[in-house]
Symmetry: C2
Subunit: 280 residues, 2 copies
């Protein structure tokens, strides 16, 4: 079958690799606002060819919308206007409320399946696409009851063939849980990078003294502003909620240091250690 | 030569592996307050034998002090009281001011070389020891002018044979830079774990939705309270200084979200991205 990928970056490109490797896609069409990205994707053999949006859409059995979130808000209604009943449209976006509110009354809403494959790296663009990005990870299917059953089946075939398992959430719960588990770690990491860049004026020292621990904590700070600002914009309220909690947790460590309450500090580190049980 | 390791955990145990593999140590003696740790270290063949502290000290050419920081404060003066002029004592502690202030007038101060190998993982104990922990990393030698030149040479032989390169700092600069680059990432990670555990009451959701990005940012939150509380206690003022900056950076993201200043948010993410240049 022919898979059309709109936005051929880290996620779109990695999915293209998986779908070709699994044999589910016989042909992968790339569509992208940037001709530079399309050229890279062709050179890296992520896609078989690139086509203009409407042309690429018409020849695809399945369409995967994998642009940044703000472009999705713009594209999704236009794609649904044009979609045929034998086609399935899947997105891979990190927030769902605004997107799904936008198309909730669209006559062809059923052809659309809102998905969030919980996978990624701190890199972006077609050069960042890698095989096996999705293997063993979870794909969240959001508000599945609003999609046609055959469209949901198709979405599951796509992500199964990339090695994913599934969970279901409604759009509010999805955005809430993603703020808690994913979006806050990006803000924490951006803030840590800014902290160190602000305090440590001697870049050579950072280079010398940064152990792998620092590198790990700050890894997400390399993530793209083009991708993340639209996510924070669309999930603003949930992100603010969890950001308040995070600042509060840091302020408590601060108070404990000021008061020299090292027993309390010890007890809270032990509580933080419990994350290990959940993360395997 | 015989190397005695006092505190046979992640760092002491990993160093023992490297020193035996490189051939620098013909025999490794383990000393530890915990007989359980010693038994594990013998079973894992990290050490050739375990001995009581004074006995093990007397038969060692080089002694490596690798306990948590609070035990170091207790042990270092006692070890210097007993050390012979043909022996070298090295520590691997994460803070240096209190430790070095404590022994600055000791008549055998010259036999001691204060070292901080910038390497580690979130795990602890002899079971966490791994080969190649130090390879390619930096070892900071602190206040080298207060150590006998032959003792410094010996310390360099030890860490060179583990694959490390060297940099020099005085004790105040060391503690300051480590607060900036290492200690704050641990607090940030502990606080992030507590944030997520507080907000996300549904542990199964964390398990399902946590991508590798979250896992990376929160990795250090698995670190041991026994190791880290003494570090925060001894480096309290510098840690408070950088923690204030970190809370301020997060508060700025918060203000930008509240004001919907997404251009400002974008600009600050791009600034955070600059950490990439420094971290290779």
């Amino acid at each position: 079958m022919v898979v059309g990928i709109i936005g051929i970056g880290l996620i779109g490109g990695s999915l293209a690799i998986s779908l070709k490797e699994s044999g589910l896609a016989t042909r992968v069409i790339g569509m992208d606002a940037s001709q530079l990205n399309l050229d890279k994707a062709v050179r890296r053999r992520l896609i078989d060819e690139d086509l203009p949006l409407e042309q690429g859409m018409d020849v695809s059995d399945v369409l995967v919308l994998a642009t940044p979130m703000d472009a999705m808000l713009n594209l999704l209604p236009r794609l649904l206007d044009r979609i045929r009943p034998d086609q399935t449209l899947i997105d891979v976006g990190s927030t769902k409320e605004s997107l799904l509110d936008l198309v909730k009354d669209h006559p062809r809403r059923g052809r659309f399946v809102a998905c969030h494959p919980m996978a990624g790296t701190e890199f972006s663009g077609p050069e960042a696409a890698v095989p096996d990005l999705f293997t063993g990870k979870t794909c969240v299917i959001v508000d599945a009851q609003d999609s046609d059953p055959d469209a949901v089946d198709m979405a599951k075939r796509v992500f199964s063939s990339a090695g994913m398992t599934f969970t279901h959430l409604d759009r509010c719960a999805h955005d809430l849980h993603c703020a808690y588990v994913s979006h806050i770690s990006h803000i924490a990491s951006f803030a840590l990078a800014l902290t160190v860049l602000e305090k440590e004026k001697d870049e050579q020292r950072i280079f010398e003294l940064a152990s792998s621990g620092f590198g790990s904590t700050v890894r997400l700070a390399k993530s793209s502003a083009d991708m993340w600002v639209p996510i924070f914009r669309q999930n603003r309220d949930h992100v603010l909620d969890v950001l308040d909690e995070h600042i509060e947790q840091l302020a408590r460590f601060r108070t404990q240091l000021i008061k020299r309450d090292y027993d309390g500090f010890y007890e809270r580190i032990q509580r933080a250690n419990q994350i290990e049980k959940i993360l395997k």
